[in-house]
Assembly symmetry: C2
Homo-oligomer: 442 residues x 2
């Protein structure tokens, strides 16, 4: 019995989990950041469970936290996304592969080319997570003294997207004739020279690769600020977001989808998938104990560093047992900072308590049994808080094993999640149409 709408499930991961205590959790793989065989194991299990996509979180800098805190963290040193996902493409057949690429610190020609190549290698399973890169330390690795301002980052992101998608459309489907007899390899009338000259970029094109099998790799977007929501409504096919609860999720869902008709887009073709930290136990109490045990492994130095990142401000000098002091406005992610301030206000948390929340995992969490979590996920789907989730595993491999062995079968029994892949591409899994080529009729 299938529901009218089914859940879409992505796995949003770092190799040792996003939770900074996870590398110390019993049975974990502390070496997973540089151990490809672990990554292969994870992605194959997710594919066997029919996940829509594997989604690798990314960073463009090591620093941005005090060194005494940094040394506790396993999250920032690991594989680079394109090399990792391409290698995983070669050992999987169906699961989607979503990579992050920054519009602030990369070139549209490179980004368009790499995603097109990943899409060809994977036979249509690539997705591009468009990020504007909030970490101010990244700028220092790319020759910039000061970080690019928030508004300008989004303006550049929008033009970057236009150039990349324009480059993907460089060749019509039938451009490559490969006519051995006549000697014509492709038809130049079916090739478009983009000749883009904009505010931020000047890119001639054409791209030196055929149009991706999906037309365009699926477009993923993560910003929740005002310009982030507008960019998502205009361009995204998957929104990756972090609402704190169902009410906030429903408001975000309605807001972003509500912007789409005016732009001429069908809200059906944008899937909103909040990050959800999933901790499964045989009982709800056992699940809570697991989470408490995990959070207990987060060193305070690491916790305060995570809070610093969320604030875009070094919090290590704050009084741990006092309230969050006033901090100056900065250029860091506005969404992240707003969430910290809201959490601090709503729950009257001290700096230490806030830090421990952020050092563990501060976002939306489903902590319970497979049945209770399936109930919650169903409610979110039915009440239009989301179209599915990007699952965050608390620890690896056990947290992933629990999801694929306990939660996914429960969702499948309820008709809330596929038991087999029906299509071959990431767009097929997500129920997204193949974009028309803007320069050529198919």
């Amino acid at each position: 019995m299938a529901h009218e709408r089914q859940l879409h499930l992505g796995a949003f991961m770092r190799p040792v989990s996003l939770h900074t205590g996870a590398w110390r959790y019993p049975g974990g793989y502390p070496d997973a950041n540089f151990n490809f065989s672990h990554m292969k194991e994870f992605v194959r299990k997710l594919e066997a469970a029919k996940f829509d996509a594997f989604f690798m979180a990314d960073h463009l800098a090591v620093l941005n936290m005090p060194i005494e805190a940094l040394k506790r963290s396993q999250t920032v040193t690991s594989f680079e996304p394109f090399t990792l996902l391409s290698a995983l493409a070669a050992v999987t057949d169906r699961i989607g592969l979503v990579a992050t690429a920054s519009t602030t610190f990369d070139e549209p020609y490179h980004v368009a080319r790499r995603f097109a190549s990943l899409d060809h290698i994977s036979a249509g399973r690539a997705g591009w997570n468009i990020v504007t890169t909030a970490n101010p330390d990244a700028a220092l690795n790319f020759g910039l003294e000061e970080h690019v301002e928030h508004g300008e980052r989004y303006q550049r992101a929008r033009e970057f997207y236009d150039v990349v998608t324009g480059l993907w459309d460089s060749f019509a489907e039938d451009a490559f004739t490969r006519d051995v007899e006549s000697g014509q390899f492709f038809d130049p009338a079916r090739m478009h020279v983009l000749d883009h000259k904009g505010e931020e970029f000047s890119v001639r094109g054409p791209l030196n690769i055929a149009r991706p099998p999906q037309g365009w790799p699926a477009i993923v977007q993560a910003g929740q600020s005002e310009p982030g929501r507008q960019l998502a409504a205009e361009t995204a096919e998957v929104v990756f977001c972090s609402p704190r609860d169902l009410e906030a999720a429903k408001a975000l869902y309605a807001d972003i989808k509500g912007r789409m008709p005016a732009i001429g887009r069908d809200p059906l073709y944008l899937k909103i998938l909040p990050a959800a930290f999933v901790v499964i136990g045989d009982s709800i109490d056992e699940a809570r104990e697991k989470r408490a045990r995990l959070d207990g492994l987060v060193h305070y130095d690491s916790a305060i560093a995570s809070l610093s990142i969320a604030l875009g401000h070094d919090a290590s000098g704050f009084d741990p047992d006092g309230p969050l002091p006033e901090i100056p406005e900065t250029n860091a992610s506005k969404t992240g900072r707003a969430q910290v301030l809201k959490l601090a206000r709503e729950e009257q948390l001290t700096v230490r308590q806030l830090a421990q929340r952020y050092g563990g995992y501060s976002g939306l969490a489903f902590v319970g049994t497979a049945a209770s979590i399936a109930d919650e996920m169903e409610q979110w789907l039915v009440e239009r808080g989301s179209d599915g989730f990007n699952v965050v595993f608390p620890y690896l491999p056990q947290g992933l094993d629990d999801v694929v062995n306990l939660l996914v079968p429960e969702l499948q029994r309820r008709g809330l999640f596929r038991s087999e892949y029906e299509g071959a591409t990431l767009r097929d899994h997500l129920g997204l149409p193949r974009p028309a080529n803007r320069f050529f009729a198919d």
Copy 2:
């Protein structure tokens, strides 16, 4: 019986061969540019034959030739190197994987990170072919109106190399302590912040990935101009070159290796591997017939385009049956242009004859039986014209099959080439030492 020195063999490839007539050759794969399964087949055969490395040629633009010529060519639209080689890393165990990355149109932080990641994924099999990108059309895809001048490209390349290798040394071998008990994931005293501020780049670091398994991926360099030779002597561990004959090769070999002692480098640790186009027949006549058949498949429009690239000047307006006219000095590869002029002068070729040579394959060619080619390769090795070759296959898959089934066994019988891999990494295959970390003693 092994020789004192053995040959090193790389495969220098485009998916459908570098020869622009190859896609029309009987039994070929005209669709190989976007067919990953063909690439997997090729690299696995090369690994079974114990090749040192698979080396993918690259381009950063489609254009730079008249459209009527471009349409005949299969060489410029294909996979992007990092995505392709990472995927191939996942389906191979021992063969080296050399990718091209441009120092003119990319960022040192990105390049350092991707090669380190490929080296981790492949367990020490990555090599970086440093190119400065001679194609003036590439500049137009990266926001530059005019191509960067030859001398400045090399100055930038040298600084780019310093930054990349410095970033690779960001972490000592023992930096990642992963001490579950104390909660220390890495030792910050074993992390180096590069803080590079130079003429061309300002890059703070550290790189957000552990030091590559090889220390540094093997460094490959291809320029033969004066600054190219000097850069190679200073930095390269493999020189990829295109001498026209053994005498030219010996001069180049002696020149580059002769520069090394003064720099404090051991010439043993630089392997000079000319590109060699290898056509094998049961008799020398049959091999020549194969080559003639292949060259006959090069359309004149494509031939004249190749000549244009070699000259860095549109040759389509020249009289096909006249001599090469005078052409103005440009910013294109000086080595390439010098070779055309030399060939035209020495062999008194018309524009058409020159174009047909360049449209087919104009570089060093060994055309004969497995035994005659083994003789030639042995002579080059013994007389120090080279330390091996980057084999260019005339057509695929047959040309590759001929090399691995006929030539490699002949070289193995003579003790000129390994029968088994002795080490695990590309550096092991090439006999190169693992570079010390400049910031930390091992």
